[in-house]
Amino acid sequence: MHFDTGDTAWILVAAALVLLMTPGLAFFYGGMVRGKNVLGMLAQNFVTMGIVSVLWITGVYSLAFSGKGKLIGDLHQFGLNHIWQQATGFEALTIPPLVFCAFQLMFAIITPALITGGSADRMKFSAWVVFSAVWLVIVYAPVAHWVFSPSGWLFKLGALDFAGGTVVHANAGAAALALVLVLGKRKGWPKERMRPHNVPFVLLGAGLLWFGWFGFNAGSALGANTLSAFAFVNTNTATGAALLAWILTEKIRDGHATTLGAASGAVAGLVAITPACGFVSPMGSIAIGIAAGVICCLATGLKNKFKFDDALDVVGVHLIGGILGALLIGFLGTKMTNSAGANGVFYGGGWTLLGHQTVAVAAVVAYSFIVTYILAKILDKVMGLRISEEDEVAGLDLSIHAETAYENSSFSDGSRFLSSSHQSAN
């Protein structure tokens, strides 16, 4: 086995970058919730880092990447046994298998963490701990195997997902939708005012996500080379384009370009370019970014129309953004960026690739939604998913964690004086 020290060094750094995305996500979400729930949000994200770190090493890595099964891996590398062997189908990698395992661990951490944006403000901490642990095993592991592992059925089919548009984002988005349908609406939604308590936190989190995402996407080249450079530039370009497209959409629709919109647009662009960053050209990434900025901005209105309380728009940003990016590869994919990729409709490749992408998206979304829905129903019966109404009014911080984020908690909803009414533009 030949290891390249440059490749190895880059993937180790990339893994650390991806880890930082989860605290970044915690702040992105934490700023958007009300001040009485910010610690609850941060805690659910942070605890996920603990849970997945232990479970991944213990057996979930093996389930996702070991063996020749089409639907799920095996336990050959349980407890990191045989970790000197490369994951099945990754024999040509120039980095040690343990580095690949560590890099993939960070993806497994942020995927369940993304779901907390849907269930915000009303889920028990204990229920989250159990839910995220079981979800990792029965949803994340098989889906990662289908798409990322060369043994997986969607990989064999020819579906392309460079860094996790289906595995991470569409998967988490579909799961969030299922979970909020079981959990029910936050008390008072949509009548009561629930404005973000700290938009600067949201921007801080979006900045950390953008930074960490270079590890996520450029690291997914699994080497330090021209392909990783394409992924890097495409990621940055699409993100910039999506940011601009989102605030322009807002400006036209609402009359204002908002800070929250700029942060949301950037994240929507990052999501949409994730599956495509190693398969499209930089000009193609601008098209993906613009599509993500406009469509995800409009998609955040779906929850008001269909009355599901996806608190922080995991559906609008991650489900829709992930699906969009995965499908647009079918149009914009080009072998000039990646000879291991495929040409899409616009590059003379015909409709085959788009067909494969559609199958992958449909399979992942359907599986994730159905299994998550059943899991949430069972956990709700067994232990109860939701905090009591009294605790919900007091806020997660005080009722679950016996802490408060801010000295004067009466200001936690913005201001004790500023009573208001709420209406939706969507």
């Binding site: 204002h256 908002t258 955040t300 004086f417 009573s419 208001s420 709420h422 533009a425």
Partner: protein, 112 residues
């Protein structure tokens, strides 16, 4: 003795304070307040969802004065607080029965 209370636009506080200091007022109390009069609140937009805030942030300013000075002080505040637009606020005075300076126990006008 009179208590003069003024509800003003927050950005006018410095002008009023300077005017009152120049006049020779030795103390005042300032607090943040919210309310509405003829001025409407404002609208905030988060991801397309509009939140209408009915109450407008204001500053509440209180000054204790000897009765003969009250009209002059009110005039000073009104002049300094005025921008001519809706939401400039209100100023009123109320009679005060007794004032005590806590440190010395002085009472009445001596305590002002």
């Amino acid at each position: 003795m009179k208590l003069i209370t003024a509800i003003i636009k927050p950005f006018k506080l410095d002008d009023i304070k300077s005017a009152l200091q120049a006049y020779g007022i030795t103390g005042m109390t300032v607090s943040e307040a919210s309310g509405f009069g003829r001025q409407r609140g404002h609208t905030e937009v988060y991801r397309g969802a509009e939140y209408t805030v009915d109450l407008v942030p204001k500053v509440r300013l209180e000054v204790l004065v000897d009765s003969p000075e009250a009209e002059a002080v009110i005039d000073l505040i009104v002049k300094a607080a005025s921008t001519g637009s809706i939401g400039d606020g209100k100023v009123w005075s109320t009679p005060v029965d007794q004032v005590v300076r806590v440190r010395t126990g002085e009472r009445g006008s001596d305590a002002i």
